[in-house]
Symmetry: C7
Subunit: 94 residues, 7 copies
């Protein structure tokens, strides 16, 4: 099952911080989310949204920073996603 | 009796989660709604809505995720529906 | 006396539920209103409303579902009506 | 002295209900206002209002129903008027 | 010193009610302001305001009724004025 | 160091009232600001602002009245300025 | 890692005030931020933003004053940035 966003929507997945324990062992994907950082997992087609032409500027795999409190959290097959409008994405991290 | 939505409206019906009891018996359509997941049961004609051209992008039978708290709940012949604007639909589940 | 709505306005009249008493007698038009269901009794001409072209899509006699809390209740010759904008009508019941 | 409304404004005067006393005497124009019913006493020229073309659709003498709480009450020569935008007029009573 | 309003702004000066004392003496310009009535003392050039073409329809000397609570009160050389947008002027008194 | 405003912004500096002490000595620029009065010290280029063409109508040196509570106060080299949009300027004082 | 802003967004970095201790030693970049002053570290491409053409007018290295409470604070590699829309930038400091 996968999410196919409509219009100018983008599906994001939170980026987990790798954490190193005191003993030096790296625990990938452990507990802590990097706030507001996420990876793009699906991109809507853009086009005419609310009467305005929108061109999509992010692509799957981009790491992005998005506006706090924007978007809607959804759960699918026990995975959590955030669906935002592209205009809620502030910047791409390169 | 059926609902024929106007403009960019879409009629949704909540998707019920199948639940398996401890004894292993599947209880289809039992109690719990999957939050924000719904099936499209009717789609408006789109066209000029609030002065803006809207093309409908979902179709009857699509499983969709929609924005929490959006739409209006209506009851017809003891069935419950949610009528939303297409722009409140975030993504199609494929 | 009759109401001739302006612009994109539609005059609605609540649909009363027929109720059957315990003794089996049907009491047509008794007390209880069907929530949000109404019959269209007059339709405005549409046209340029707030700078936007509106085409009327409902007609007198249509049974419709409209948004809760929308519209204005008016009383004329002891009859009660609700005047809504067409965009507050969610769906036609067929 | 008379009021000449600007733009899409309309000057309304409340319609008073004729009341019959117990002794059968009709007291025209007595106390009680008919809620939201008014007679049009002056109509603005319409034209470009807030950047949008408005055509006036009511005329002096029309009896109208207008939205509760809309408009501004003004007093001129001890007469009370309500000045509304035409879009606050819901329907003409014929 | 005089006020030259910008855009669609209009400078108003409150109209004072003449009051007659019990002894019959007229006290011009005494205490009481006529609510919402004012005289136009300066008119902006109109033109493109917030992206919309505005044509000025009032002129210096017009007596007008304006919307309660609209506009900004300013004081210049101990005189008090109210500066409103033309769209806050409801009607001219003729 | 100087402030170069963007778009339709205007940099204002409060006009101080000259105050005469009881002994008759004029204290220029003393304590009290004239409310809402200011001198224009820099003017943005105008042009397309929020999708709307804006032509600047004030110039450096103009004395203006601006809307209470509008604008942002900034401090540069211990001088205080208020940066407003031109549309917050109500009138020029001539 | 660097931030590449989308649309009309601009990445800002707070300007720190150099502080001189009592003993006369300059402590560059010490504690105190200059309120609302920042340096531009990255500029979005502009173009069609929310249906409106935006031309970017600031460039990397500009010192700017921006509206209090606007923008979103983000943290990347332990550096703190503020991402604002260009329209939240009031003026360039030259």
């Amino acid at each position: 099952m996968k999410l196919v966003p409509l219009g100018d929507r983008v599906v994001l997945k939170a980026i987990m911080a790798e954490e190193t324990t005191k003993s030096g062992i790296v625990l990938p994907g452990q507990a802590k989310e990097k706030p507001q950082q996420a990876e793009v997992v699906a991109v809507g087609p853009g086009g005419l949204v609310d009467g305005k032409e929108v061109t999509m500027q992010v692509k799957v795999g981009d790491k992005v920073i998005y506006a706090k409190y924007s978007g809607t959290e959804v759960k699918l097959d026990d995975e959590e996603y955030t669906i935002v409008k592209q205009s809620d994405i502030l910047a791409v991290i390169e």
